[in-house]
């Protein structure tokens, strides 16, 4: 009798503790907040064409803005977009100022500790430099001890400076960084390879080249508040992400915004192909 009672108490205690634990893990605060106020606040870029930028009437447009619209539509809530910068986007998410971040963020191990980065990743880009042909860069090591222009908040600034000993001069905007490159304040401008490619193909940078092999091909991740990653919101966004890749929606958007087609999206689509589809 005594034993049974003890066992029963132990089981109840165990049950209580497990439910308490999972409840503590998943409060779903952000999800509930979004649902109760009927509005999702998404942090997007307003200075990263063509992923997130403004049109002349001031509206935010771009590939990631279309993704944010998909999310709001699926959840059946209104969409509010907050422009974020590379330097403040993670703080905004941590503080709860935004509920979701789709802001060209590279998925890095150190960032995973701060925000809830969602799998699967939705895009990828590598790091490269644009440099005057006259400089004749051959390899990354040529940057050692030389000034290299970049944009504040980009993770590869640190990598290029640590791995290759370049002196990074970081500007608030890319126009300023490119002007500095033109003024010969630095021997190269370090940025995403896809952006550099589109600049070079525009015909305005004929005296420049992208001489190096792209490095750190790095997937991009969208993010939810850290506490939500393994809860309703995180799981929902994983589903959104999967569907975007699987249905070819992202390839469609890539085409819509004139981004050079990447092998990454094509491969992901192939990988996630429905086995019943012919």
């Amino acid at each position: 009798m005594m034993k049974q009672l003890l066992a029963a108490t132990a089981i109840t205690a165990l049950l209580a503790s497990t439910t308490a634990a999972s409840a503590a893990q998943c409060t779903n605060d952000a999800w509930n907040k979004v649902m109760s106020r009927g509005k999702i606040v998404v942090g997007v870029k307003a200075d990263y064409k063509p992923w997130g930028f403004r049109n002349e009437s001031g509206e935010l447009v771009g590939m990631e803005i279309d993704m944010a619209k998909d999310v709001a539509e699926t959840m059946g809530v209104k969409l509010e977009m907050v422009p974020v910068q590379s330097s403040n986007r993670m703080q905004f998410l941590e503080q709860g100022k935004i509920d979701l971040m789709i802001a060209t963020m590279s998925d890095r191990p150190d960032r995973r500790k701060i925000v809830g980065i969602i799998q699967p990743n939705y895009y990828t880009s590598g790091t490269n430099v644009m440099s005057p042909k006259a400089v004749g860069l051959k390899k990354w090591e040529d940057l050692r001890g030389k000034p290299v222009c970049g944009k504040q908040g980009a993770f590869y600034n640190k990598i290029v400076s640590e791995r290759y000993g370049a002196d990074i001069v970081a500007f608030t905007g890319n126009a300023e960084a490119k002007q500095a490159l033109r003024d010969k304040k630095c021997i190269a401008w370090v940025y995403d390879d896809s952006s550099i490619m589109s600049d070079l193909s525009s015909g305005n940078w004929d005296a420049y080249e992208m001489p190096l092999n792209s490095e750190d091909d790095n997937p991009w991740g969208l993010a939810v508040p850290p506490a939500e990653k393994d809860c309703v919101f995180g799981q929902f966004m994983t589903g959104m992400s999967y569907n975007w890749l699987q249905s070819g929606r992202l390839i469609e958007l890539e085409k819509k915004w004139g981004i050079q087609p990447t092998a990454f999206l094509a491969n992901q689509k192939k990988r996630m192909k429905d086995w019943l589809d012919k």
Binding site: R37, A46, D47, Y48, K49, F53, R54, N55, E56, S57, G58, P83, V84, Q85, N88, Q95, G96, K97, T172, G173, N174, A175, E176, K178, Q179, R182, D199, S202, G203, N204, W205, D206, A207
Partner: protein, 294 residues
């Protein structure tokens, strides 16, 4: 009028003579420096700068022409003015209103008869007067919450309202000094005469001293407004959506051609000049009009 050599005509001697008092130079200049400098510029000041801007692209090397850059500016102009510059004006108006109200109270506290109030007010004034504006902005931005939850209602506090508060702090401190200085500049005989007529301290302050102060406070007050307006682009460092932030985004949307930098930033300069210049001229005119007759 009697003929006095050296005053009404050229001096007839090279021995030192006492020059007549030049009333425009007799006042301490530091409080009104910005307005006086700005008002001293001719109205066509931006024009040579714009002409310089036209010359500039001749040295540029790319296929993207200056004409295209100006065309881009023209297309973005309505948006930059309506959603950008208007915000700067709104921020400056509200910061000035809050700063003036708080500064007036703080200034009066600085002349309080209670030592504790007087010293505290002095300390607060000096603290905010002598701190860099950007540092105050950062502190306010990071210290204030982005939303308030009262019961079930969530009141969000947008960044620009925090910027208003942050900018109003240095304005408050400087207005406080203006109020203190103005009150103390009223000759002490006024206090003594009022006391002799059996007014109490509050009556003397509100009915006799302050009405005389208002006029002399208006020019420095407007001077600070011009300074504040020109300081509003500081908010762009905190990602508040004002004219500099939006210009950067516009440059990005136009593919970051470096040729865009000069037209866009020159436009910002011109619009600020167009706004602040009349204020400065008016300030200096009012100052002359209200100048204390010695």
């Amino acid at each position: 009028m009697k003929h006095i050599p050296g005053v009404t005509s050229a001096p007839t001697t090279d021995l030192p003579v006492l020059l007549p008092l030049d009333r425009t130079r007799a006042r301490p200049p530091e409080a009104m420096m910005v307005s006086r400098w700005l008002a001293g510029l001719p109205a066509w000041t931006p024009l040579p700068l714009l002409a310089l801007m036209l010359l500039w692209p001749l040295t540029a090397e790319a296929a993207y022409t200056y004409g295209q850059a100006v065309d881009a500016l023209w297309r973005w102009l309505p948006f930059l003015v309506k959603s950008g510059f208007l915000y700067n004006v709104v921020i400056s108006f509200l910061a000035m209103a809050i700063g003036t109200a708080a500064g007036a109270a703080l200034g009066l506290a600085q002349i309080s008869q209670i030592a504790a109030i007087r010293r505290t007010a002095w300390f607060v004034t000096q603290l905010f007067r002598n701190s860099p504006w950007l540092v105050l902005l950062f502190i306010v931005m990071l210290a204030l919450p982005f939303e308030l939850v009262i019961g079930d209602t969530i009141i969000s506090i947008p960044d620009w309202t925090k910027a208003v508060f942050g900018l109003s702090l240095p304005i408050m401190a400087n207005i406080s000094e203006i109020v203190r200085g103005a009150v103390q500049s009223v000759p002490s005989a006024q206090w003594e005469a009022s006391e002799a007529l059996a007014f109490n301290r509050r009556q003397i302050l509100w009915m006799i001293i302050l009405p005389q102060c208002i006029k002399r406070m208006i020019p420095p007050w407007m001077n600070w407004y011009a300074i504040l307006t020109m300081a509003t682009p500081l908010c762009s460092l905190l990602a508040v959506e004002e004219i500099v932030t939006l210009s950067r985004q516009a440059i990005e949307a136009e593919d970051n051609h470096p040729e865009l930098l000069v037209p866009f930033y020159s436009f910002i300069m011109v619009i600020f000049f167009a706004y602040c210049y009349p204020i400065a001229r008016l300030t200096v005119r009012l100052e002359r009009k209200f100048a204390v007759k010695l």
